[in-house]
Each structure stands twice: as C-alpha cells, then as structure tokens.
Amino acid sequence: MPILSTFLWLPIAGAIVLAFFPKAAIGAIKGFGLFVSLATFVVSLGVLRGWDDGQAGFQFVESLEWIPQWGIRYGLGVDGISLWLVLLTTFLTPIIFLSAWNSIHKHPKEYVISFLVMETAMIGAFLATDLLLFYIFFELMLLPMYLVIGVWGGANRIYAAVKFFLFTIAGSLLMLLGIIYLVFQNYHQAGAPTFEVTQLYGTELTATAQLLLFFAFTLAFAIKVPLFPLHTWLPDAHVEAPTGGSIILAGVMLKMGTYGFLRFVLPFFPEQSMRWANLMIALSVIGIVYGALVAWVQPDMKKLVAYSSVSHLGFCVLGIFAMTQTAIEGSILQMVSHGLSTGALFLLVGVVYERRHTRLLADYGGIARTMPVFTVFFVIAVLSSVGLPGLNGFIGEFLILAGSFQTHPVASVIAASGVILAAIYLLWLVQKVFFGPITNEENRSIPDIAWNEVAAMIPLVVFMVWIGVHPNTFLKKMEPSVKHLMTTINGPDASGEIRVADRGLTRNQQPATSNSPEAK
Amino acid sequence: MTAEVIIFFVFAAIAVVFALVVVLHRNPVVGALSLVASFFALAVMYVLLEAPFLAALQVIVYAGAIMVLFLFVIMLLNLQHVAEPPTRPIQQFLGYTSCAAFGIGLVYFIIKYAIVGRPAAQFPSTARDVGIRMFEAYVFPFEMVSILLLAAIVGSLLLSGRTGQGKAREVSR
C-alpha cells in the first residue's frame, strides 16, 4: 500500500463517509473527523520511519499514468523540502478539530467535511511531483477555504471570502498560462510532453519568456505568501475566518507560496531569480518591517496576529531569495515554526473570542487573573513567535538572517530589526489583554481554557520546544534536498558555495584559516 | 439593345420599386400585395435565366402560397387599418445609412470582382434534370425537408392555438 497516497486520500475518503452521517449526530461527526485526521497524522508519520537521511531527491515516489496524451502523471513524492510541511499539515488538522470541538454550532458536518477536503488538497500540493497535479491541488484548496470563511466566518465574511478567492485565483490563473507555456517549450525541446517537475528543470527559454514566466509564477506565489504589496487580503481573511480557518490559513496555506518559490520558481528560472532577487528581498524586508509596524497599531487581536504573519512570512521569502543553503533551510524551518506559533496564537485568540465575542484589545485587560492557564499558553506562543532562543521561532529566524547576511548584509540587518518590532507588538498585545487591573466587568468571570483546547495546545507547545531545543531533528532531514536544490540553481559547478557570493562576502569553510575580503 | 435587355430592365425596375413599396408603405396589406408583384418580376428574371420550371415554382409557391398565407394572417388579425407609429429616428437614420453603405459596397464589389464572361453553353434546368439530380445526390436532404415542414406544421399548430388564460398570466417587469 503506497503510503503517500494512503494518507493523501484518507481525509477525502473520510469526508465521503462523513457525508452519509445523520445531521443530528454531532458528537459522532466531530469524533469521526478527529479520528480520521488523527489516523492521517499517524499514517503520515510512517514517512519518517522509512526516511533515508542521505537522499536528496524525492522519496516514496509514486508515479502512474494519468493523462498520457499530455504526459501528465499522478506523481507523488516527498523530499526534505516538503517533508516537514506535509507533516505540519497532517499535524495541524486534528488540532483544529480539537480546538473547534464546541465552537462550531452551525452545520458542523459540512465544517468537518470542508476541512478534510482541504487537508487532502494541501497535502497533495506538497506531495505532487507533477506540475498539473500540483496546480489542481493548489486550486482545490481554495474552494473549501472559501466556504469555510464564507459560511462560518464573522460579520464581514463575504467580502473577506471573495477578496481572498479573487486575489489568489487571479495569481494562480496567470500561473496556469505560464505552466502551459513552460511545458510547451519543454515539449519542443524534449520531444515528449511531460509535466514532471524534475524534468522541467532546465528548460531553455528565451529571455523574455523567462521574464514573463518568472513573474507569472512569482505573482501567484507572492499573493499566496503574501508578499508586501499584495498582502491586503490576508488580514481580512484572517479576521473573518473561523478559528480553524485562520489556523489552516496561517499555518499551512501561506506556506504554499513559499513552498512554490522553493520548488518551482528558483529551479525553473534560476537566472531570473538571481536577477530579481534584490527586488524580492526588498519586498520581503519591507513586508517584515511594514507588517510589524502595522500589527503594532491594530485594535483587533486577530488583525494583529495576521499582520504579524505578513511580517514572519517576509522572513521566509527573504531566506529563499538570499539563496544560501543556510537561509533556505532556515526559511523552511521558519515555515514550520510559524505554522506552530501563529497557529497557536490564532487558536488562543479563538478561545477567548468564543468566551467574550470580541477581539478588540480595548475590551480586555487583566484577564491573566481570570484565566491563568490560558495566559501561560498565550505567553508561550507569543514568546515562540517573538523568537525567544530555546523556542522554535528563534532558530528559523536566526538561520535566515545569518544565512542571508552572507549575500545581502544590509537586507538582513534591516530584517533583524523586525525581531525588535516583533517584541514590541506582541508584548503590547500581551500587556493590553492579560495584564493591568481588570477594567471591564465582563472579564471578571471568563471560564478558563477548556480540556479540548488544552489538548490542542499541548502538542503545539511540545513541538515549539522541540524545534527550539533540538532543531537538528528537522534540519538534518532537509539538508541534502536543500543542497541539491542549491546545485540545481547554481549549476553543479558551485555545489556548496553560492553563486551570488562574488560580492566579496564569502564565508570561509574553515574558521582556522580566516579569509576576509581584505585577506583575499 | 435586344428585347431581353429591355425586359430585364423593365422587370428589374418593377421588382425594385415594389420591393421599396413593401419596405416603405405603412399598410401591411399594400406591402403584401406589392411583395407579390415584386415576386412576379423575379419570376420573369428566372425565365431570363433559362429556368422556366423554377419561375413557375416561384409563382406558385411564393406568390401563390406563402403570400396568401401572409394576407390571410393580416386579415385574420385585421391589421389592414392599423397605422404603424413612427419609429425612433436614430434607428431609422442608422438603418438607412448603414443599408446604403452596405448596398453600395456590395454592388461595387460585385461589379469589380464578380465573374464576367459568357455563361456556360447549356443550363440543364428542366424539371427532368432537376428531378434526376434531386433523387440522386440530394435524396437525403430532400427527405429531410419533409421533417422540416412537419416540424413547421406541428409548431404552427401549437403556437397559434388559443392559450386561454394567456393574458391572465400577463406579468411585466
């Protein structure tokens, strides 16, 4: 039984079964959803068991004829780049069901179903080794999310849902055209049509074609990330989405963009990526600072966290386009940690929203006294998101910054200031919500965090600490793939070293023999 | 300047003039009758084109059957007295001008590019020739015409039947 397909289709299968559940059996529905997602997670862990640390390419590859006429295959595979994102997805879904155990009163069945469908779509997008297959999953995940935001969302949900959908679809449709063109060119050169990602690497293209395709792909992913000028859909979507929606959106869906950059943009168009790296890095750095600053003045908790995502994802993009191995590993790790910490933040905001039905900072204050346990969890999540060493956030950011410092020192320094800003807005949030005297009478009697929410939080915290304390568990598995990616970008000649390194800022491999630019 | 030419011009003039009457006269009855006249003129043209059989058919089918049908309907709905209200000037203007342009262009192109030179020596257009061809290659469409007419009959029966509460269910936006 091919493991990837198993846990790829398990959620959908569950959803189909679920469709025949009686509407009334809410407990059963939720339980079944949780069970299915947990099963998926357990199965997906099997990937780790059979994992070959040394191998750079795809593992557990499955490849079947699908649309032979166009050389489209049902190709699945997982490598160091996608491994942790896949696991993150399967890991977060049960947590969502747990956290939403009592909070979804409207159409619980449809809710669970849409999340299961979404899970399959997301896993598929990470696993697909075939461009069209990827695209299909990439778009498939929009529909359930649209429904989730639109049906279970807040007051202004329609606007948010439509905005979310149109922004993303606009990008991805142009990318579709790019895909077609790319494949067509490759077809001309290779003679046989194929959508296999790895075979499309190194398709020769004319300069203009490269440029256009690069921007077609980049636009799609940049919207998804979201990169600075295209980020405005995110706060609305986050604010209006139900807790689970926000968690998935921030935790996994945004990673589609960064993942796309890594898997497609860089290896497809290395020259263009190098050429426009400075632009992308500039945008991401702007995003980091901008997102942080805007987050700081938000009156609404969820908006604040949403903008913080803009800031944190900026780090990922920075790392990717710095194009040093360290930075890329860092940004992959940062994707995972962001999924954990921001997911946790949204979860907790959801918890308190459900009790007080307001997200305005002004309505809170001093609830550390009424819900101490909750406060502890929240502070932990905040600290991990601030990037406190010993928790997950730090490692990723450090690797990104240190790595990008090699090639883009100025950008990395400016980005590093984002670390300060993160502390500013997140501690501001904590102080406003939890500390100080209780001003609002309603806050005197908030029930503390409930069993299911604790159950949802604990695994998150565990992994935050794990990544923070022993990140090698994660880095070692992604290292070969990233190395391989670097060679794909730079060509085999410069395997370890980075091609953009001819700016005088090369890191010497052996510390003993120090060589600074002057020394050379 | 043979007789043929004279006949051609005379009847061409008739056809055009009556056609214009059809288009311009306010009373449908007059229109219908002048259309008949115009069709007659066309029949003459067919004769000039060495297709007497078709000319006969033109007179019988068109002037005979179809136009009678028209008149019948006009009478049935006794529209002979209704004076047609004037239409919107823009529509009128655009209609006339565009038609003028179209016609002039068309005529110009025909004069310039339509083939000239002697027509073919003989033109098998007798009822016999027609029949033979008709039942060789065109037997299938010929049969299908029956379906066309059948459908038309069924349809006209269906549509023209009184609908009882038709007006009762009148709803307007």
Binding site: - | P28, F39, L42, L54, L69, I115
Partner: protein
C-alpha cells in the same frame, strides 16, 4: 444573353432593401416580408450563378431555400398570431418584457 452580374447587382439591391425593411419597420409582418425579400434576392444570386456555371445543383439549392422559406413562414406567422393573442398587437417594439 444578359451578363450574370446584372442579376447579381439586382439581387444585391433587393437584399439591401430587405435589410432596410427589417431595420426600419415596426410591424412584425412587414419585417418578416422584408426577410422574405432578402431570401428571394439570395435565390436570384444562386440562380444567376447556376446559370453561369451551367450547374443544376445551384438550381436545386433554390428549391430547398424555397422550402425553408415556406417552413419559416408557417412558424413565423404562427408566432405572430400568438404574439397578437398576448398583446393585441404585432408591433415588435411592444415585445420588451425582457431587457438588460
């Protein structure tokens, strides 16, 4: 022997007149008559060419067009009658329930 394109020109003129009728008249039946006029113009063209080439099937085409015209006439008039039943008029401008 009359040159073919004389007939062609005539038919072009008739066709144009027909179009003019369609565009400028309100009375449905008149419009329909104009359409019949157009169709006849086409017939003339076909016949003229058929004579030019000495082919019979151009001629046969005309037969079929006549049949088509007959069928259309039947249905069309039925439609007008039904329109009249609904609105007591055959002024096509009155038929404007649906727009935009």
């Amino acid at each position: 022997m009359i040159p073919t394109h004389w007939f062609l020109i005539l038919s072009a003129i008739l066709f144009t007149i027909g179009v003019m009728g369609v565009l400028t008249r309100k009375n449905g039946i008149t419009i329909f008559m104009s359409i019949e006029l157009m169709v006849n113009a086409v017939n003339l063209t076909f016949l003229a060419y058929a004579r030019q080439f000495g082919q019979t099937h151009g001629l046969i085409f005309v037969f079929f067009i006549m049949a088509i015209a007959a069928a259309e006439a039947a249905v069309g008039l039925a439609i007008f009658i039904s329109l009249y039943h609904h609105r007591d008029t055959i002024d096509v401008d009155e038929a404007n329930l649906m727009h935009w």
